[in-house]
């Protein structure tokens, strides 16, 4: 078994298994914790509307915060959108999802993917530099932050090298790329990357609770 076979075979299988196992474990573990009923007289009965409202509107900063958070949010947006484009727009990735789910959609031209990857990598580097240099972020950051950054950065970087056939043979690069994705999948449920699922739950929770009170959301 060569490296690529290992990557495409057992590594991916087990990474995907750990991925779903960890995600369901964490989500179920949170959601099944106790919830106390709220007997207070609701100001608005339609709390679900608040959940939706907050899920949607918290996607951009409120006017009052814009000046202070614009840069961080912009860079965040750039690499998030970049990742979505790369993960779901690149033909070989679509094939990956097709093999898993049977779903297919049109791919983007490779030139677009390459440019996006370059921009995404640049944004990720900016994010890291900011995390290392901003006093607040440096204080808050722990292993999870840096490791999650690494496992996000690595697939994009190795993916670009693979497409460019740069640095090693293609099959080795492809194997490393897939292994980096496997690492991402394995780490995903246990670190902050879970925010991609939790963001909806967390925002929805606050949105519903606050809408009930008529509080600001």
């Amino acid at each position: 078994m060569d490296l690529l076979q290992f990557a495409r075979g057992p590594a991916l299988t087990w990474a995907a298994t750990v991925f779903v196992f960890g995600i369901t474990w964490r989500l179920v573990g949170i959601l099944l914790l106790q919830r106390s009923p709220d007997f207070s007289e609701a100001r608005n009965a339609t709390s679900w509307l608040g959940a939706i409202k907050l899920i949607v509107t918290r996607s951009w900063p409120r006017r009052e915060f814009r000046q202070r958070t614009l840069f961080a949010q912009s860079v965040g947006y750039i690499f998030h959108i970049g990742l979505v484009i790369i993960v779901f727009g690149f033909a070989p990735h679509i094939l990956f999802f097709k093999a898993l789910t049977g779903l297919v959609w049109p791919n983007l031209p490779s030139a677009v993917i390459n440019l996006t990857s370059a921009i995404t990598l640049a944004a990720l580097i900016v994010v890291l530099v900011r995390r290392l240099s901003h006093p607040v972020l440096r204080l808050l950051s722990n292993f999870d932050d840096y490791f999650s950054w690494l496992v996000t950065f690595a697939p994009v970087a190795t993916g670009m090298l693979t497409v460019a056939h740069f640095g090693a043979r293609y099959e080795t690069l492809l194997a490393i790329h897939i292994l980096s994705v496997a690492l991402l999948l394995v780490w995903f449920p246990f670190g902050k990357l879970m925010h991609s699922a939790l963001v909806f739950i967390s925002r929805g929770t606050t949105g519903a609770l606050f809408e009930r009170k008529g509080a600001s959301i």
Binding site: L4, R8, G9, T17, F21, G29, A91, S110
Partner: protein, 352 residues
């Protein structure tokens, strides 16, 4: 045997003109990307060289490699290699049979001991004492070890002798292995492919005859002159890959327009061979040009790397059941974790 001493004389004797020999050398030099001036030097060296004694052993094989060489589209050119060598033993091609054939081989092995070139096609079965392939009661394994002892170098022709090939494919019932799995103390060159391109076989042999040594090899023993680039790197459909234009099925618009076959499982990106440049049938086309993806036949274990039609970027295994199990396991683990936390909380509550 009263054959002429030098190759040049021998060629003349067989009616091969010196111009055709020079042409052969020119073509070979061009194929191997040797400096253009090398052709004349090659011709000069070859004409003064002795005919190279070659012993060709066929093990677990289909004869496709020999067919590739002998029935190539431009037989005259590639077959000229046979004028340059003294093929002292080749079961398929030789006229002699039985005892006579065996003794011819033994004779050659003795008289050219330490100098002959050993060519092997086919893999070597090792299970059950190697009984799955024997010639004259001797297993392939023993024959190889015996013949390798006096060889100056070994050329493994075809993927079977290079990496085990199809006999080696899962579940490998005969315990087939490659030449290099058995022989460790001789220079071995692998010329894989199922079959290899005839010009590649001829070119590598010509190189050995000319220079008396093997050309530079890559990390899995292949001559770099032919196996340095992937099919994908040299593929004429590469621009479509770069543009993200892919055939989705073998009969869609993309396929008709000659778009990239990556999505149809083409192994071009991970396959090192010269098909895309030298092509087949005298340069007519090669698999991708005929509308089918590369199978990756010159790579080790090509038969076991998932379906030929499974794209490279996809997982090899069908993971649905194990992923489903993971999900259920996660739900269970999560429920247990939450249950423990709740119990813990109630416990604290009661204590108060």
């Amino acid at each position: 045997m009263n054959e002429p001493d030098t190759l040049g004389a021998g060629l003349a004797h067989s009616g091969v003109s010196r111009r055709s020999f020079l042409k052969f050398c020119t073509v070979m030099a061009s194929l191997m990307a040797l400096p253009p001036g090398a052709a004349q030097a090659m011709a000069a060296a070859l004409s003064q060289a002795k005919r190279q004694s070659v012993i060709w052993l066929s093990f677990q094989e289909c004869t496709g490699c020999v067919e590739s060489l002998t029935r190539s589209f431009d037989p005259t050119l590639e077959q000229m290699i046979f004028e340059m060598i003294s093929l002292d033993y080749q079961e398929t091609l030789q006229a002699a049979a039985g005892e006579a054939a065996e003794s011819a081989r033994d004779e050659a092995m003795k008289s050219s001991y330490g100098k002959y070139l050993l060519i092997v096609d086919g893999s070597i079965p090792t299970k059950d004492g190697g009984v799955y392939s024997t010639v004259a009661g001797v297993s392939n394994h023993d024959r190889l070890i015996d013949a390798a002892r006096g060889a100056a170098a070994i050329v493994a022709v075809g993927t079977c002798s290079s990496y085990g090939g199809i006999p080696h494919a899962n579940p490998n019932p005969t315990g087939a292995v490659s030449v290099s799995d058995i022989i460790k103390d001789k220079p071995i060159m692998n010329v894989p492919g199922c079959p290899p391109i005839p010009s590649v076989i001829a070119g590598t042999l010509a190189y050995f005859v000319t220079y008396g040594k093997l050309p530079e090899l890559d990390h899995i023993g292949r001559p770099k002159v032919f196996y340095a680039d992937t099919i994908h790197d040299r593929c004429y459909r590469r621009p479509f890959y770069d543009q993200g234009k892919f055939a989705k099925t073998f009969d869609d618009e993309g396929a008709r327009n000659g778009w990239c076959l990556y999505e149809l499982g083409c192994k071009g990106p991970t396959t090192y061979n010269a098909c895309a440049t030298i092509k087949w049938n005298g340069g007519v086309s090669y698999p991708i040009e005929s509308g089918h993806g590369c199978l990756g036949c010159s790579e080790p274990n090509f038969w076991d790397k998932g379906s030929f039609y499974r794209p490279l970027s996809t997982p090899l295994a069908d993971n649905a059941h194990i992923i489903a199990a993971g999900t259920l396991g996660g739900i269970a683990a999560g429920a247990v974790a939450a249950g423990l936390s709740r119990k813990h909380q109630t416990h604290i509550g009661e204590e108060k």
